[in-house]
């Protein structure tokens, strides 16, 4: 029983990280039709920014850790907004070029991060509580899992409230349905594009700081490591569906944890799940049917 509880909560923690990356990917694709392969770089830069804050100001303080989360999110948002303004904006409706540019940016930034921080993982520290465990039904669950889950739930609630109760949220929801008609109402939808990139980048940057706690290190490859599963989550959940991304993130991560523990084939099971969803429900669990 304790093993199942441990696997379940660890899976939820991993799912929280997948969601923090996938939420931005899903919103960006839903509104702009852009498959952003550079999204992992937002996460990695956010993680390094948070690590730099902790390293310079003292890793064991909760205040510094909170600041690291804020800085990680802000850096991720700024990097994402600049990516949209300087690179992606010129390439709307040019999907092949978008893929080439975002893949190129992802490769270039990994090289840049390696040149700046080295290619080896930097092991991190944090407040003592995060290194400890909490007993849940006899299972010693690492505390950082609870933090990741709590943060992802707050991000989900925050994005849902933003989409539901702000004018930009209204523009984004309408734009996901019919971008051309939004412009035909006199709305400059490009501002919403930049904002969605920034929101997605902030979630990824926050995810970067939390992922470095979850895995215990930060490395130039952290983003790429999570990005592939975030893409799978985005497709399974339904491109453009935030709720779909949340459901799929939990499903994929929990399944992966159980499959890894019992059979050692967690990644294979995730790919098989992706294939099954694409065969049975190509638009994803909560995506709009074509």
């Amino acid at each position: 029983m304790s093993t199942i509880v441990l696997l379940l909560i660890t899976g939820l923690g991993l799912g929280a990280l997948y969601f923090l990356v996938a939420s931005g990917l899903s919103l960006i694709y839903g509104l702009m039709g852009v498959l952003n392969f550079a999204h992992g770089s937002f996460l990695t830069l956010g993680a390094f920014a948070g690590w730099e804050v902790a390293r310079r100001l003292g890793a064991d303080s909760w205040g510094v850790f909170g600041l690291a989360l804020v800085v990680g999110a802000a850096v991720g948002a700024a990097f994402a907004a600049l990516t949209e303004l300087l690179l992606v904006r010129r390439l709307y409706e040019r999907h092949i070029e978008q893929v080439l540019v975002t893949v190129g940016l992802a490769l270039a930034t990994v090289a840049l991060f390696e040149g700046t921080w080295g290619s080896d993982p930097e092991f991190i520290e944090g407040p003592a509580w995060l290194r400890g465990t909490t007993d849940v039904a006899g299972a010693p669950v690492p505390n950082d899992r609870f933090l990741a889950i709590g943060a992802a739930v707050l991000v989900l609630i925050g994005i849902v409230l933003f989409l539901r109760y702000t004018r930009f949220g209204l523009i984004i929801r309408a734009g996901v349905e019919n971008r051309a008609m939004v412009t035909a109402l006199g709305i400059d939808v490009r501002k919403a594009f930049t904002l969605v990139f920034a929101v997605g980048g902030a979630a990824a940057g926050l995810g970067g700081v939390l992922a470095s706690q979850y895995f215990g290190y930060v490395s130039p490859h952290l983003g790429a490591q999570l990005l592939i599963f975030a893409f799978i989550v985005t497709v399974i959940g339904g491109l453009g569906s935030l709720t779909g991304a949340a459901v799929a993130a939990v499903l994929v991560a929990v399944l992966q944890q159980f499959a890894n523990y019992y059979w050692g084939y967690g990644d294979l099971v995730v790919v098989l799940l992706l294939a099954l969803v694409l065969l049975v429900r190509p638009s994803g669990l909560l995506g709009r049917r074509a």
């Binding site: 004018r167 349905e177 412009t183 109402l185 006199g186 709305i187």
Partner: protein, 237 residues
């Protein structure tokens, strides 16, 4: 003679490399309803979309003397061009109220006018637009345009697929709209044209083949047959 509100000169448009508007030149008077007529597939809707910048286009388009052919769609609309698209294009996942709120671009949107014209929409403000009937969706689409103070309204086949009773309501709403701003109307229903239009522009194979007074054309069944390929009740008799 007063200056036209819209002057279109040698407009050409392409979609995915395919020429959909060949060479269109016409004026829209500063008052009344100008109807764009033509057989199916001749480029009427494409002409409206090209005017609005939704399709890639060349040529010259002026709105009250100002060139707008190099502006993006949102900037053209913010200069006072309202658009009611073919097939309504309401945001199905948004409520009626959200569809209308999204369309408000003026500091003082004309909510009372819209409520008077479409009281049913007030009752259904919390309903998702995707669950409305075709006629109700058309009202949302018209209401979105009428909320703002327009210098010109582009309206594309507003009665397409609607029941006769709803067609009458839509025509009434358009008549009210035409009292506040000139309308460029794409429409197939000749009864609606007869009721609303003052001027007609007939397009064939992506080019303008006739412009003139609406009543004059509608009184000439042979010409209607030749230009539009439809029989009116008069020439059928």
């Amino acid at each position: 003679m007063t200056e036209p509100i819209l002057r279109v000169t040698n407009l050409r448009a392409t979609v995915a490399g395919q020429q959909v508007v060949e060479d269109v030149t016409f004026d829209v008077p500063a008052t009344g309803v100008t109807a764009v007529l033509g057989r199916n597939g001749v480029g009427k809707t494409s002409t409206l979309k090209a005017l609005l910048g939704l399709y890639a286009r060349t040529g010259e388009v002026t709105l009250a003397g100002e060139r707008i052919d190099r502006l993006s769609t949102d900037r053209i609309v913010r200069r006072g061009v309202g658009y009611v698209p073919e097939d309504r294009e309401v945001f199905a996942g948004l409520t009626v109220a959200e569809n209308l709120r999204l369309a408000e671009r003026d500091a003082a949107p004309r909510r009372e006018l819209v409520a008077d014209l479409f009281p049913d929409l007030v009752r259904r403000s919390a309903q998702r637009a995707g669950t409305l009937s075709g006629g109700q969706q058309q009202m949302v689409s018209l209401a979105r345009a009428l909320l703002n103070d327009n210098r010109l309204l582009l309206v594309d086949e507003p009665t397409k697929g609607l029941a006769p009773k709803i067609v009458g309501q839509v025509a009434t709403a358009l008549a009210e709209a035409a009292a506040t701003a000139p309308v460029l109307l794409v429409e197939q229903n000749l009864e609606v044209i007869e009721r609303l239009a003052t001027t007609v522009v007939v397009i064939d194979a992506g080019r303008v083949v006739h412009t003139g007074d609406a009543a004059e054309l509608l009184d000439d069944p042979d010409r209607i047959q030749r230009l539009l390929g439809v029989h009116t009740s008069e020439n059928a008799a």
